[in-house]
């Protein structure tokens, strides 16, 4: 039982981190109609900035957690104003091509700035080691921290989308941008803001991931594939979709890796295939999207 308990917690830990990253991808698609291939690269940028702030400048994890995602959001505003805005009205395939180019540019820039080597970031003192849970089973403190961050973000995002004016504007812009504009909503600002917010979420995921995952120039590519699986399972363009998809994939990794290690490679794709067969728009997807 204790093994099962820690496997469930582990699923939650993996799933919530995936949620933080994939929800940004999903929000950006919902409002901008852009599938952002470079989303994983922004996640990587967050992690590397945390590495610079903590290991090279000696600042604390908390500072990194605040500064790095903000810095990446600023970069996202530049990306949006300099390149992305030209393709909002174009076919979705164009946005795929353009953001793929961005991904290559960011990947190579990271390699040029920080080198090819593998870097690591240490978790802060109070989040190191493990605690006793379920009798004798131990669970890493840092993973509990990831779960807390994930749950806080789930609640905060739910609140923003359902209870605040900014959230309502975002949803309005996602539903019908022309209508929103007719109602005197500055959609240009909304669109740029949403892209920056998506990047902020990706980078936040990167900073949170940094103390437990190796930093290397390929880390963004790994996470973008996972994020796409989340989106396919959960449904493109919706906040509940990202949550559902991330939880399912978390369970697939957490329980599958623990109890069915022989077929762990296959399981995410089986999950994806099943969803595509029976709910082609994803678990929470609306028929209108894609």
């Amino acid at each position: 039982m204790s093994g099962f308990g820690s496997a469930l917690l582990n699923s939650l830990d993996i799933g919530l981190l995936l949620f933080v990253i994939a929800v940004g991808l999903n929000i950006v698609f919902g409002v901008l109609n852009v599938i952002n291939f470079a989303h994983g690269a922004l996640y990587m940028l967050g992690a590397y900035l945390a590495f610079t702030l903590m290991n090279l400048l000696g600042l604390s994890f908390i500072v990194a957690l605040i500064v790095a995602p903000m810095a990446v959001a600023v970069i996202a505003v530049l990306i949006d104003r300099l390149v992305l805005r030209y393709i909002y009205e174009r076919d979705i395939a164009d946005s795929l091509l353009l953001t793929f180019a961005l991904l290559l540019i960011i990947n190579e820039s990271v390699r040029m700035i920080w080198g090819s080597g593998i870097h690591t970031v240490q978790p802060p003192e109070m989040l190191r080691g493990s605690v006793e849970l379920f009798g004798d089973a131990r669970y890493p403190v840092y993973s509990l921290f990831v779960i807390v961050v994930g749950l806080v973000l789930v609640a905060a995002l739910w609140f923003i989308f359902n209870r605040t004016r900014a959230g309502k504007i975002m949803r309005a812009a996602a539903l019908d941008r022309d209508m929103a504009e007719a109602l005197c909503i500055n959609t240009k600002l909304v669109v740029t803001g949403v892209f920056a917010f998506g990047a902020w979420l990706a980078a936040l995921g990167g900073v949170v991931a940094a103390p437990m995952r190796a930093l290397d120039p390929g880390m963004g590519d790994k996470i973008i594939i996972e994020s796409f699986i989340v989106v396919v399972i959960g449904g493109l363009g919706s906040f509940p979709g990202a949550l559902a998809g991330a939880m399912v994939l978390g369970l697939i990794h957490g329980l599958g890796g623990r109890y069915l290690p022989e077929i762990n490679l296959l399981l995410p794709f089986v999950g994806m295939a099943l969803v595509l067969l029976f709910k082609p728009n994803g678990l929470m997807g609306k028929g209108a999207n894609v």
Binding site: G115, S116, M212
Partner: protein, 409 residues
């Protein structure tokens, strides 16, 4: 992707100036001998390609500044294999047909090697594999043009089995990447261990996480809940860094198990982990920079540290040694003709940082041996763990016989 190395430029210019001043035999327009290399230069494992490229650069600098090969300079043309077989096959064709390289070298992944090696005979240029370890390419996939200068999985696992047999552990399992390398490591380890110690138990429950899995916690928990007494861990690169840190967090290293990391002493990984690599676990590498007491190794290690600030990894050594293997082969042949060079390489011996290396005639596998040691205290200058109780095995004893390889040349 030819890189212009300013240092190389300066040394070749200096060399050219010296030679023309002394009115030596070299004519200025003699075209260079081209080495075509394929390594992982982007993505997660890019650090391996970088170490290899540095090894090649160092060897080429040394050779060119002492007169080149047959009076001609060596020149590197390097391609990114991206760790994908299809990309490497294209890269090899581009190197041979477009860049007109004379010889090929490289390969960081067993999966890439298995895909590329069968296409090498049609290119009619020799290939020296410097890293990829699958036994197949000097076994059932062997061919007249393919050679390997680095230790293969069969050699490494036979050595590992000898160490494992000396420990008290009787029940073994594995955690390895879910592709050729992880599965073959376990298969060869199991077979070799059974031979030495027939009563040993190889557990049914094994873990092969996806290469690049990021979160290894479920697999680590699986082993911790089992009654395994020994674990063979063949994860490498960023996966290994992630594994060690997550396992530390879970208290995995505080439990009483024999742990053997089949590529744990890669300096790429040791540098990233620093003192977070636990002490007292068995680590292997194809070459440990501190393990060989000969002039070539001393010169190589010192030159490498001078140039790049950290000790060379096995990948750097393999690449460095391959350049010297080609130098010797081209000088012995007197030309850069592909088939003739392949003939010369067969059975050829030469001096490398890890001693005298011979490409065995029957399967083209270099008679080299893995280095196993226990992780010790941190090195005061290099910022990585040292290896204690270092064991360098007799290559003849850990290599398969030609009959066992299944290679028929």
């Amino acid at each position: 992707m030819t890189t212009i190395n300013p240092k190389k430029l300066v040394t070749s210019l200096a060399g050219a100036a010296l030679l023309s001043a002394g009115a030596m035999q070299v004519s200025a327009d003699e075209h260079p001998i081209k080495l075509g290399a394929m390594y992982i230069l982007s993505g997660s494992a890019a650090t391996y390609g970088q170490f290899a490229q540095r090894g090649v650069d160092l060897a080429i600098d040394e050779i060119n500044s002492s007169g080149g090969v047959l009076g001609r300079d060596l020149e590197l043309v390097i391609e990114d294999s991206q760790g994908k077989a299809a990309v490497a096959i294209q890269a090899a064709r581009k190197l041979v047909y477009e860049d007109q390289v004379d010889v090929l070298m490289g390969l960081d992944s067993s999966g890439v090697a298995q895909g590329l090696v069968p296409t090498i005979p049609e290119l009619r240029k020799p290939l020296i594999i410097t890293h990829a370890a699958t036994p197949d390419v000097t076994g059932k996939l062997c061919n007249a043009f393919t050679f390997r200068i680095s230790t293969n999985v069969a050699q490494n696992m036979k050595a590992a089995a000898q160490i494992a047999a000396e420990t008290g552990a009787n029940r073994w399992t594995t955690i390895g990447p879910d592709y050729a390398f992880g599965h073959q490591s376990w298969e060869f380890f199991g077979n070799a261990l059974k031979e030495i110690k027939p009563d040993v138990e190889l557990m049914e429950a094994t873990a092969f996480p996806r290469f690049g899995a990021e979160d290894f916690t479920p697999f680590i928990n699986g082993v911790m809940d089992s009654d395994a007494e020994g674990v063979l861990i063949s994860l490498w690169g960023g996966d290994l860094v992630n594994f060690v840190r997550q396992a530390t967090n879970l208290g995995f290293f505080e439990e009483d198990r024999e742990l053997m990391f089949t590529v744990g002493a890669a300096t790429e990984v040791l540098t990233a982990l620093g003192d977070r690599m636990p002490e007292g676990v068995w680590l292997s590498t194809r070459y440990w920079y501190d393990g060989y007491n000969n002039d070539i190794n001393t010169r190589f290690v010192n030159a490498y540290i001078d140039a790049y600030g950290n000790p060379p990894s096995y990948n750097a050594e393999g690449a460095y040694a391959a350049v010297y293997a080609y130098k010797n082969a081209i000088e012995a042949t007197g030309s850069t003709d592909g088939p003739a060079l392949a003939k010369t390489l067969e059975g050829m011996s030469f001096e490398a940082p890890n001693g005298t290396v011979t490409f065995r005639a029957g399967d083209h596998q270099a008679m080299v041996s893995p280095n196993w040691g226990r992780s010790g205290p941190m090195h005061p200058e290099h910022g990585i763990r040292t290896l204690e109780d270092l064991r360098i095995f007799d290559a003849q004893k850990v290599s398969r016989t030609i009959a066992e390889t299944g290679c028929n040349l």
